[in-house]
């Protein structure tokens, strides 16, 4: 799984920061059929969350209608220096984690 993250390296306390995430995933909807007419089993990410300073600051549920390689962007408020943890969970509970650090002054 390839992940791309865009998190500002530093911010002032109280600043609203933009965070962008991109993950490679086929998001197979479960509604398509292959060349033999067999249903291609569903294989999707179910949940995305961002944890910052011990708190979930953003959470999203994902569904079959979301296209491949989900691109999720959101805003949060810079509070403390530290790590932001990004967690994607697929339908079978398999977890992909990435972290990024931010310096808050």
């Amino acid at each position: 799984m390839t992940v791309r993250l865009s998190v500002p390296q530093s911010a002032k306390r109280g600043d609203v920061i933009e965070i962008k995430t991109l993950i490679s995933h086929q998001m197979e909807s479960g509604f398509r059929r292959d060349a033999f007419g067999e249903v291609i089993p569903r294989d999707i990410l179910k949940e995305f969350r961002c944890v910052y300073d011990g708190q979930t600051v953003f959470r999203a549920e994902l569904f079959p209608a979301i296209s491949a390689n989900p691109f999720i962007t959101f805003h949060t408020v810079a509070t403390v220096s530290g790590e932001l943890e990004f967690v994607w969970t697929d339908q079978n509970g398999v977890v992909t984690r990435e972290t990024a650090s931010i310096e808050v002054t």
């Binding site: 390839t2 791309r4 865009s6 962008k20 991109l22 993950i23 490679s24 086929q26 998001m27 296209s67 491949a68 390689n69 691109f71």
Partner: protein, 268 residues
């Protein structure tokens, strides 16, 4: 004139030429589209699609470029060497290399594209198994290598040992094929800019490949695109890596040569 009428008249004209001359019309030797009119596939995309390609973070093609960069420095094969063992930024740099492809391999005399060059390197220098065409790893490495030439114009050699391949590619481009009896130039030289159902016909340049296509929901090679074109005119698509497609790639590179490489591009 509607497109349907255009196609009908094309087919009619084809039958006429065939009955009068009995041979396929000779392929032109000059570029059919003036340099001033050359347009990348980018110019035919919607504003949103162009914005996605322009954003080096959001452009999903970069997932493969990133993966390719990792593979490029990963050791593989019996020789325990990585691509970066031979190719550094200063020695045998791959910057600009993709713009010179397809190119004739001196040892075999074959015209090869980037995918095939990567596999040749794997076999010769790494003693590794070749990657299968259109596999995730080969797409990633091709995207990474082609991305190193982004912004450069095509500069592939079309004379000398490459000349016969260039001519074969040109003949393929101008040959009618499939149940629709259409050749590449009927859409991409005579009718670019017109609507074909919901799509605007492009000039058919390969300068953004491997490209991320919404239709595919993934990145794909130029050969995948060419196979789609062949299916579109109801011709039998050739296998991935077919010599005819590599020859055609060289012709396409020549006819696009004022355009710069855009890999990874985003297309509808």
């Amino acid at each position: 004139m509607t497109l349907r009428a255009v196609i009908a008249s094309l087919i009619g004209a084809g039958v006429l030429v065939f009955t009068i001359t009995g041979v396929v019309a000779q392929s032109p030797t000059e570029r059919a589209i003036d340099d001033a009119d050359l347009k990348s596939g980018y110019d035919f995309q919607s504003e949103d699609t162009r914005a996605l390609q322009d954003d080096d973070f959001a452009n999903p093609g970069f997932l493969w470029v990133d993966k390719g960069a990792a593979l490029f420095s990963e050791k593989a094969g019996k020789n325990d060497r990585a691509c970066t063992t031979c190719h550094t930024d200063t020695v045998r740099s791959i910057k600009g290399a993709a713009a010179r492809y397809p190119s004739v391999d001196e040892k075999t005399g074959q015209l090869i594209n980037i995918e095939q060059r990567i596999n040749l390197c794997r076999e010769r220098h790494q003693q590794a198994e070749p990657l299968s065409y259109e596999s995730e790893d080969l797409l990633a490495m091709t995207a990474y290598v082609a991305h190193q030439s982004r912004g450069q114009p095509f500069n592939a050699k079309t004379d000398g040992t490459a000349q016969s391949h260039f001519e074969a590619g040109r003949d393929y481009y101008y040959a009618r094929k499939g149940q629709m009896n259409l050749a590449c130039h009927h859409c991409h030289e005579w009718n670019w800019g017109q609507m074909l159902r919901g799509d605007r016909l492009s000039q058919g340049h390969g300068n953004g490949y491997p490209a991320y296509r919404f239709e595919w929901q993934t990145i794909g090679s130029l050969h995948r695109r060419l196979r789609n074109c062949d299916k579109g005119v109801r011709a039998e698509p050739l296998p991935f890596g077919a010599q005819e497609y590599v020859d055609l790639e060289l012709y396409l590179a020549w006819r696009a040569s004022r355009l710069t490489l855009e890999t990874p591009s985003v297309r509808r």
